[in-house]
């Protein structure tokens, strides 16, 4: 390109010279005239190049190389800037990766946005996920907007053959589930509608992991038999790896084959229902139709369905659960850190730019347009931004997996959390945006006029605007740091307060585990009571065991059973019946759990079937139903049990069943205890499938776990103990979320404080450098070291105080947000500020100390001689 232009112009010159010579001019005169006529060749070339319009790209390249050179000249500055940005952008990228995986990516089913999940809704208790089996069929038949509907509920049991006895979690599913979701099976087929009926031959679909574990992944598995809960099932299909229905499940059986009585009970809400929208049907249309069907059902079956409406939600919402607000909260917090990092780099760049004012003025004088210079500055900041962003991506890559594995509980859709193109795009976008943010300040300072002054000045003149800008930076950083520190403080106080809450029982040295009886025994209801007695005897005899009890639900663990109750002979209208958490326990439960007895007595061995039905209530229920009066001896009617009331024989202290954090806010807090020995046989049979055993030990509870497991294998060797936890662990786990958030916010706040201090240090150093002549003058006029230090510290103090004031407003807003999003948080009180503000002040003044000292040690003579 260049060559050709050169050649073309040379040709023109030569021709012109030849013509002039032909006209009779002397050769050298001809040369001179020709050259004059053409004009400066370089200028002509430039104009041609401009005309071609490729200038822009070449300029960008030039800017880029220049930026690299400048940064290489100051490696310290570049390193600090890039590292700061990497920290900010890395943290933000980690949060976005999680949000991308959990919230933004569609579920792994084909056309996942057409999948919906149905919830029932009542006015009193809000939304509930459970449906009854007849209700499911009603919706399946009646709905036109949902093309196909499927149901599932929890199942599983002891698998005894092939291999050792093992309790596996499973699901009972309707025949259409796999096709509704659009999930292909690895081998075999899904259930047929004929198999989804009572009385059909037992079949099962096993999970990929079960297939590998028990059948070694053999291709011959289809058609083989597997014994679940004592019944022989034929394996007809294998589910793909990673397939989940609300948690891991290893075996699927047809829901329709279940013979439990609750399958026919319209009021037993234990089934999850999901469906797929017909093409061209919107969620709103489906919602309207469902409400209509719900109303018809309410008319047809007033007892169970009155006041019960139906709502449809996209399936992804159900899977994600309530983790959404936490994620957005964390993204917000991490953005604050990124903002601080940007402000830091901006002030660094600004200081850098002011010292380059002379150089920029020179370039402007040589003909660079203002736009060109601004572009130069922005290129420099983009180089920093993108390097910081790239390093941030590396940090995110390293940090994402430890982060996810430490998430309290389990992060829904954790398997979808990976660095993919969307994350990279986000990271690059954030880097560019932040470069723009911090690059603008120095870019806008590019001199447009008064070149002469800039050229002559030593680059030391500090315009008032720059000083204000720098102070503004410090104020902003301090304010952001205050917000994060106060948030961390709030969370810390919350955790402290919640940890000190009384769980209502003694959590130390108690073991809780699920126990699955032998399937053969479960088949034969008459043997059940004897089997449980045997379990209790064996457990009591173990060394290290103080007392043993059975319970169907255990506090602070997933699982609850709530029933309606009333204390007067005439029940209130159905939608106003209060609910209580019911626990079916053996008498020793009080001792095992260490619950306080307030009045009367707890259940005892004499309360057996055939005797009067007795219950024990907690003081919440006593307060609500019998305010003031002594409840002992009074009757209590329990919904679902026969029409005769039970007699209240005692009142115990309230147990925080829902966990230390959530209990105070939950809707159902009343508690009732019934004796296991007073249950009629059908209920014993029903509960035996989910019974737990609780053990108080005199040694470390986990040391008893193995001996307990071995001892309780049962005569057939197929009784299994699973889900073993200590109550201490469960209680601590109920605060996992708060603890995790505190940890994170603590890190963010620490980072923010560190960055703010670095920023203060940097800005103050720079500002005092600029004021060296003034300081020299002051000292020459009699100011002492102390005076100078006071001067500098005073300036710093001013900025910090303004920053804190601004930050307090932000912190108040943040506090309200936290209160809303994190259970158990109370509003901010002064003590949080009283702790946080002194910390910030101390750190900030400490950071200002060194520049102040350096300023006070300025030699006045050399200072005045400068310039």
């Amino acid at each position: 390109m260049e060559e050709q232009l050169e050649k073309e112009l040379r040709f023109h010159l030569d021709e012109h010279v030849n013509e002039l010579i032909a006209r009779g001019n002397a050769p050298d005169l001809a040369q001179r005239n020709a050259r004059l006529a053409l004009g400066g060749p370089e200028q002509v070339k430039e104009k041609c190049r401009d005309a071609r319009g490729t200038r822009w790209l070449e300029d960008l390249f030039q800017d880029f190389r220049y930026a690299l050179r400048t940064l290489r000249q100051r490696p310290g500055f570049a390193a600090v800037a890039i590292l700061t940005l990497a920290l900010g952008s890395g943290a933000t990228t980690v949060m976005f990766t999680i949000i991308n995986g959990v919230l933004l990516k569609p579920l792994a089913y084909p056309q996942a946005d057409r999948l919906v999940t149905l919830h029932g809704k009542t006015e009193k208790y809000g939304e509930q996920w459970g449906f009854s089996y007849p209700e499911f069929h009603d919706y399946q038949n009646a709905s036109r907007t949902l093309g196909s509907v499927a149901a599932w509920t929890y199942g599983g049991g002891t698998v005894t053959m092939p291999g050792e006895a093992e309790y596996v979690f499973g699901r009972q599913i309707s025949s259409g589930l796999f096709s509704v979701l659009g999930v292909p099976l690895v081998e075999g087929r899904a259930f047929l509608p004929q198999e989804d009926q009572p009385g059909a031959a037992p079949v099962a679909i096993i999970s990929y992991s079960l297939w590998q574990r028990r059948f070694a992944g053999s291709k011959e598995t289809i058609g083989q038999r597997l014994i679940l809960e004592g019944k022989s099932h034929t394996i007809v299909g294998i589910a793909p790896a990673g397939f989940r229905m609300d948690g891991e499940s290893e075996i699927y059986t047809p829901l329709g084959q279940s013979t439990e009585p609750r399958m026919r009970d319209r009021g037993a809400f234990f089934i999850h229902v999901l469906g797929r929208l017909q093409p061209n049907v919107t969620l709103a249309q489906a919602q309207t139709e469902l409400s209509v069907i719900a109303r018809e059902l309410a008319v047809q079956y007033p007892q169970e369905n009155q006041g019960r409406d139906m709502v449809a939600h996209p399936l992804s919402q159900e899977v994600v659960g309530d983790v959404r607000p936490t994620l957005w909260l964390l993204l917000g917090a991490v953005s604050l850190v990124l903002l601080i990092a940007c402000v830091n780099v901006a002030s660094l760049l600004l200081a850098h730019a002011v010292s380059r004012e002379r150089e920029l003025a020179m370039r402007a004088a040589l003909g660079a347009s203002r736009g060109r210079l601004v572009r130069q500055c922005l290129t420099e900041s983009s180089v920093l931004g993108i390097s910081g962003g790239a390093l941030g991506i590396v940090l995110a890559f390293v940090g994402i997996h430890p982060f996810v594995s430490h998430w309290p509980g389990s992060l829904p859709r954790a398997e979808a959390v990976q660095l993919d193109w969307r994350v990279l795009l986000f990271a690059i976008g954030v880097s560019l945006l932040s470069s723009l943010l911090f690059g603008l300040a120095p870019a806008l300072r590019v001199p447009a006029r008064q070149l002469e002054r800039a050229l002559r000045g030593a680059g030391r003149n500090l315009g008032g605007s720059t000083r204000r800008l720098h102070s503004g930076f410090v104020v902003a950083e301090v304010a952001l740091a205050v917000v994060l520190l106060v948030s961390a403080g709030i969370l810390g106080r919350t955790l402290l307060r919640l940890s000190s809450l009384d769980p209502g029982f003694n959590t130390r040295n108690v073991l809780a585990a699920h126990l699955a009886l032998s399937p053969a025994v479960l088949e034969n209801p008459t043997k059940l009571r004897a089997a449980w007695e045997d379990v209790l005897d064996r457990a009591r005899r173990l060394p290290g065991v103080q007392s043993v009890a059975l319970a169907d639900v255990v506090p602070m663990r997933v699982g609850e059973d709530s029933v309606g109750y009333w204390s007067a002979p005439v029940p209130p209208p159905p939608d106003q019946i209060p609910l209580a958490l019911t626990s079916i326990v053996t008498p020793d439960y009080l001792n095992v759990m260490g619950i306080r007895l307030r009045r009367g007595r707890f259940l005892n061995e004499q309360d057996r079937i055939g005797h009067e039905l007795v219950v024990v209530i907690d003081d919440n229920l006593a307060q609500r139903a019998f305010a003031g009066i002594d409840p002992v001896g009074k009757p209590l009617w329990i919904q679902g049990m026969d029409s005769n009331p039970a007699k209240i024989v005692g009142v115990v202290g309230h147990v925080r069943h829902w966990g230390l954090a959530d209990d105070d806010q939950s809707r159902v807090r009343d508690q009732i205890y019934c004796s296991f020995y007073q249950l009629p046989e059908p209920l014993v049979h029903f509960l035996s499938a989910v019974m737990s055993i609780t053990v108080r030990t005199s040694i470390m509870p986990l040391n008893v776990a193995e001996p307990l497991r071995r001892e309780l294998r049962g005569p057939g060797g197929d009784q299994t103990l699973y889900d073993i936890h200590t109550m201490d662990d469960l209680a601590r786990a109920s605060l996992d979320r708060q603890r995790f958030l505190l940890w994170l916010f603590g890190i963010f706040a620490g980072l923010a404080l560190l960055l703010a201090c670095i920023g203060i240090y940097g800005v103050l150093t720079y500002l005092t450098n600029q004021r060296v002549p003034e300081i020299g003058l002051r000292m020459a006029l009699g100011a002492s070291t102390r005076d100078v230090m006071r001067l500098v510290l005073g300036q710093s103090f001013g900025m910090i105080v303004v920053g804190i004031a601004v930050g307090i407003f932000g912190a108040l807003a943040a506090g309200r947000l936290l209160q809303h999003l994190v259970d158990g948080t109370r509003s901010i009180d002064l003590s949080t500020f009283a702790i946080v503000i002194p910390i910030l002040l101390t750190a900030a003044l400490f950071a200002s100390f060194i520049p102040a000292r350096r300023a006070s040690q300025v030699d006045p003579i050399s200072a005045l001689r400068q310039d």
Partner: protein, 114 residues
């Protein structure tokens, strides 16, 4: 010799297109032709010629090849493209309209419409 007149703005492109329309020609020849045909009135500042040529080439109104001249040297020859031909027609037409209008107005000042 006729007095030299400055080229009104924007007309350089039009003139270049017209000269090139007569046949492929290199830059120096264009300058010469313009001066010759106008009897010395139009003197193209050579510094503006080449940027104009490159601009027209960039807009695909001209196409260029390197060929040998009669003297045996290599030079860059420009020729008109189809797009350039259309542009030439359009601009020449509007230029002519402008000239006619101005002539009418000037004629009017001398004593009314003819």
């Amino acid at each position: 010799m006729a007095t030299k007149t400055d080229l009104p703005q924007g007309t350089l492109d039009l003139l270049i297109l017209k000269v090139v329309a007569l046949g492929p020609v290199h830059g120096y020849a264009i300058a010469q032709r313009l001066e010759q045909v106008s009897c010395g009135v139009v003197q193209v500042p050579e510094g503006s010629l080449y940027p104009a040529l490159h601009r027209l080439e960039n807009r695909s109104l001209l196409a260029a090849d390197w060929k040998e001249t009669e003297t045996g040297r290599e030079a860059k020859f420009y020729r008109l493209t189809g797009k350039g031909r259309k542009q030439l027609e359009t601009e020449a037409a509007s230029w002519q309209r402008l000239i006619d209008a101005i002539a009418l107005i000037l004629g009017m000042a001398n004593g009314g419409a003819r």
